[in-house]
C-alpha cells in the first residue's frame, strides 16, 4: 500500500532549542523522498515526527489525508527502518520479519508465509532459520527492510540505514533499495547526510539546514539549479565568486563578466563547468597544480586579476596545460545566488 504525506507548519522545540522552524512539506504517494542535510539539521527529528516517536510542538502531520499528529507509532500506517537495524537478537529471521504481522493478529501459517515472501524479496530466502548475529551487516540491513515492509506500511521511514556499511556495499544497497521501492510502490522517506546517496536513490531531495528546508526538487534540479548557496555547496563542490551589477554586465574580482544580475550575489561554478572552453569568459589564469583523478584532472587555477583567489576545475583527460602556464579560463552553466 501507499499513501501521501503532508507536513503542515510543523515546529519542534526541545527546551530552548528549536529543532524545526515551521516546516511545510508535501510528499506524493509512492514517491521516494530523501531528507538530506548535515547532522543537527533536523532531518531525523522530522522523521521521528512522521513515525510518531515525537509529537510536534505545533503543526499537523497527515498521512493518506488522515490527521496522525497524535497517533502512537503502533497505530500508524508507517514503519521505520532504524539506523542500527534494531533486530530482535533472540528470534530467527523468520520470526523477526513475522513480528509485525503477529502483532497485528495474523496466524502462524499466514505470518510465516508472509515472512518468507519478504525474505525472498530481499534475497535471504535460504536464511529464514538463522539468527541475526550470524549475518553480515548488509544482510542485517535487508532483514530490517523485510521486517519493516512485512506489515505492508503506507509509508516506510528510513533513518540513515546505510550509514554503517562500507562504501561498495552502500552503493549496491542503494540500487537494491530503489529497485525494491519500485516493486512495492510504498512511499519511502529516507534520511541521509550523504549527497551522493541522495542523488542515487531519490525521486525528490529535500535539503535541510538548521531546522529549515533550504531547497527541494529532483536531484538534477537541486544540483544544477540550487535555490541557495547552502544547497549548492552541500550537493557538491562549487567555486564561489562574489559579483555585483555594473552597467550591462557584472563586476567581480576577475574583472567585468558577461552576466546579467540586478543585485549583488555569488557566481557559483561547479568544477566540471570550468575549463578551457565555455560560454562565460573568466579571464586569464595560471595553473598552480593538478592531480590525476582517473576520469578527470583536478586543477587549481589562480586568476591573474585576483591572485588571492583559487578556482578549482575538473579538466577532461588530455586537456591539461603545463603547470605554471597562463590560459584563458571559461565557465559554463553559471548560477548566480543571493548571498545568504
Amino acid at each position: 500500500m501507499t499513501a501521501d504525506v503532508a507536513v503542515q507548519s510543523v515546529r519542534q522545540t526541545f527546551n530552548t532549542f528549536t529543532a524545526l522552524h515551521r516546516i511545510d512539506l508535501e510528499i506524493a504517494a509512492g514517491e521516494f523522498v530523501v531528507l538530506l542535510g548535515p547532522s543537527g539539521c533536523g532531518k531525523t527529528t522530522l522523521l521521528s515526527i512522521l513515525g510518531g516517536f515525537l509529537t510536534p510542538t505545533e503543526g499537523r502531520v497527515l498521512i493518506g489525508g488522515r490527521d496522525m499528529t497524535h497517533v502512537a507509532p503502533k497505530d500508524r500506517p508507517t514503519t521505520t527502518m532504524f539506523q542500527d537495524y534494531a533486530l530482535f537478537p533472540h528470534m530467527s529471521l523468520r520470526d523477526n520479519v513475522a513480528f509485525g504481522p503477529r502483532m497485528r493478529g495474523s496466524g502462524r501459517g499466514d505470518r510465516n508465509r508472509r515472512a518468507e515472501e519478504m525474505l525472498a524479496l530481499v534475497g535471504l530466502a535460504d536464511k529464514a532459520g538463522r539468527r541475526p548475529h550470524e549475518l553480515s551487516g548488509g544482510q542485517r540491513q535487508r532483514v530490517a527492510l523485510a521486517r519493516a515492509l512485512a506489515v505492508d506500511p503506507d509509508v516506510l521511514l528510513l533513518d540513515e540505514p546505510l550509514g554503517a556499511l562500507d562504501l561498495k556495499l552502500r552503493r549496491q544497497m542503494q540500487e537494491e533499495l530503489k529497485a525494491i521501492q519500485r516493486k512495492v510502490g510504498t512511499t519511502f522517506v529516507h534520511v541521509t547526510h550523504d549527497q551522493e546517496e541522495a542523488m542515487a536513490i531519490a525521486d525528490r531531495i529535500v535539503v535541510m539546514n538548521e531546522g529549515r528546508i533550504e531547497d527541494l526538487g529532483t536531484p538534477q534540479k537541486i544540483y544544477l539549479e540550487p535555490r541557495s548557496l547552502f544547497s549548492a555547496g552541500f550537493m557538491g563542490e562549487v567555486n564561489r565568486i562574489p559579483v555585483r551589477p555594473a552597467g550591462q554586465g557584472a563586476e567581480s574580482a576577475l574583472g567585468p563578466l558577461a552576466l546579467t544580475t540586478d543585485k549583488p550575489g555569488t557566481l557559483c561554478l561547479r568544477p566540471e563547468n570550468v575549463g578551457l572552453k565555455g560560454s562565460l569568459a573568466l579571464g586569464p589564469a595560471r595553473l598552480t597544480d593538478a592531480a590525476f583523478f582517473g576520469t578527470y584532472h583536478r586543477c587549481h587555477f589562480t586568476p591573474v586579476a585576483a591572485p588571492d583567489m583559487q578556482i578549482v576545475a575538473h579538466l577532461p583527460l588530455g586537456d591539461l596545460p603545463e603547470t605554471g602556464a597562463e590560459v584563458a579560463l571559461w565557465g559554463t552553466n553559471p548560477m548566480i545566488l543571493e548571498a545568504a
Binding site: 514503519t79 521505520t80 542500527d84 534494531a86 513480528f99 521486517r147 519493516a148
Partner: protein, 256 residues
C-alpha cells in the same frame, strides 16, 4: 616459588572449605556428638532428619517462601528497571537511589521495621510476612542487576517492536524479557539463594510455620547433634545444585 603458590592455594581452599567439609563429614558420624574422633560412617542421621515431620515441613516452607518472594521481587524489579531505563523523569536518579538503598540497611533493622509495621496493620507473623520481608531485601538486588543489564541495544529493539504494532505488554513479553533472559535468571536464582539462607527476618516474622534456618536454630538450642549436620549438608547440597544450574544455564549463555 611455584610450590609456594600451590601451598597458598591449598591453604586458602582449606580455610574456605574446612568448615563445610567437617559439617558434611560429621553428618555421617556414628555416635551422639558431631566432634572428632570420627567413629565411622552411618546414614542414620539422614534417615532421622528426612523422617522428621517438622523439619520437612520447614524445608517445604523455605522452598515456597524462596520461590514466591523471588518471583515477586523479580517482577517488581523488572518493571521498575524497565520504567526507569525508558523514561527520563525529573528525580529519576533519586528514585533509583531509593530503590537500591535497602541493600545498605542491615537485615535486623529491616526485620524490626517490618515487625512494627505489620503489627500496626494487623498482619500476624507468618510465612507470608517473612516472604514480604524477603521481597524487601531482594527487590533492590533484582532491580540493580536488571537495570545494569539494559542498554541502548535493547531500547532500540523495543522501539522497533512498538513501531511494528506491539502494545506495551507485548513489548515486555516478546522483546524485553527474552533479551534480558540471562539477567532475569541470574536475579531470580540469586534472590532464591538469599531467601533460602535468610535467618533474621524469617526468625522475627514467622511464628507457627517456620522456614528451615529458623527450624535448624531451634534444633541447635537443644545442643549439638549429627542430625543438625545432616540437615546442614542437605541445605548445602541445595545451594550447590542451584549454583551448578546457574553456571550451566545462565553464565554459559552470557559468555556466548
Amino acid at each position: 616459588m611455584r610450590v609456594l603458590g600451590w601451598i597458598y592455594l591449598a591453604l586458602a581452599y582449606g580455610f574456605i572449605f574446612l568448615p563445610v567439609g567437617a559439617l558434611v563429614l560429621f553428618s555421617f558420624q556414628d555416635g551422639r556428638l558431631p566432634v572428632p574422633p570420627f567413629n565411622g560412617p552411618t546414614v542414620k542421621w539422614y534417615a532421622d532428619v528426612l523422617g522428621d515431620r517438622d523439619l520437612m515441613a520447614a524445608l517445604v516452607n523455605s522452598l515456597m517462601v524462596a520461590a514466591a518472594s523471588s518471583a515477586v521481587a523479580l517482577v517488581l524489579g523488572f518493571l521498575a528497571a524497565q520504567g526507569l531505563a525508558r523514561v527520563a523523569l525529573p528525580g529519576s536518579v533519586v528514585m533509583r537511589g531509593l530503590l537500591i538503598a535497602p541493600m545498605t540497611v542491615s537485615y535486623l533493622i529491616i526485620a524490626l521495621g517490618l515487625l512494627s509495621a505489620f503489627n500496626h496493620i494487623g498482619l500476624r507473623p507468618s510465612l507470608m510476612a517473612a516472604g514480604i520481608g524477603h521481597v524487601v531485601i531482594n527487590l533492590p538486588l533484582c532491580f540493580a542487576i536488571l537495570f545494569a543489564a539494559m542498554g541502548a541495544h535493547q531500547q532500540n529493539a523495543e522501539r522497533a517492536a512498538r513501531d511494528l504494532g506491539a502494545s506495551e505488554l507485548r513489548v515486555l513479553w516478546h522483546v524485553s524479557a527474552p533479551m534480558l533472559r540471562p539477567a532475569l535468571l541470574a536475579a531470580f536464582f540469586l534472590s532464591f539463594t538469599f531467601s533460602w539462607d535468610e535467618f533474621i527476618i524469617a526468625f522475627l516474622l514467622t511464628r507457627f510455620d517456620v522456614t528451615l534456618p529458623v527450624e535448624i536454630w531451634s534444633m541447635l538450642r537443644s545442643g549439638l547433634s549429627p542430625a543438625t549436620n545432616a540437615i546442614g549438608s542437605l541445605v548445602f547440597l541445595v545451594s550447590v545444585a542451584l549454583l551448578v544450574v546457574l553456571e550451566f544455564t545462565v553464565f554459559r549463555k552470557v559468555r556466548k
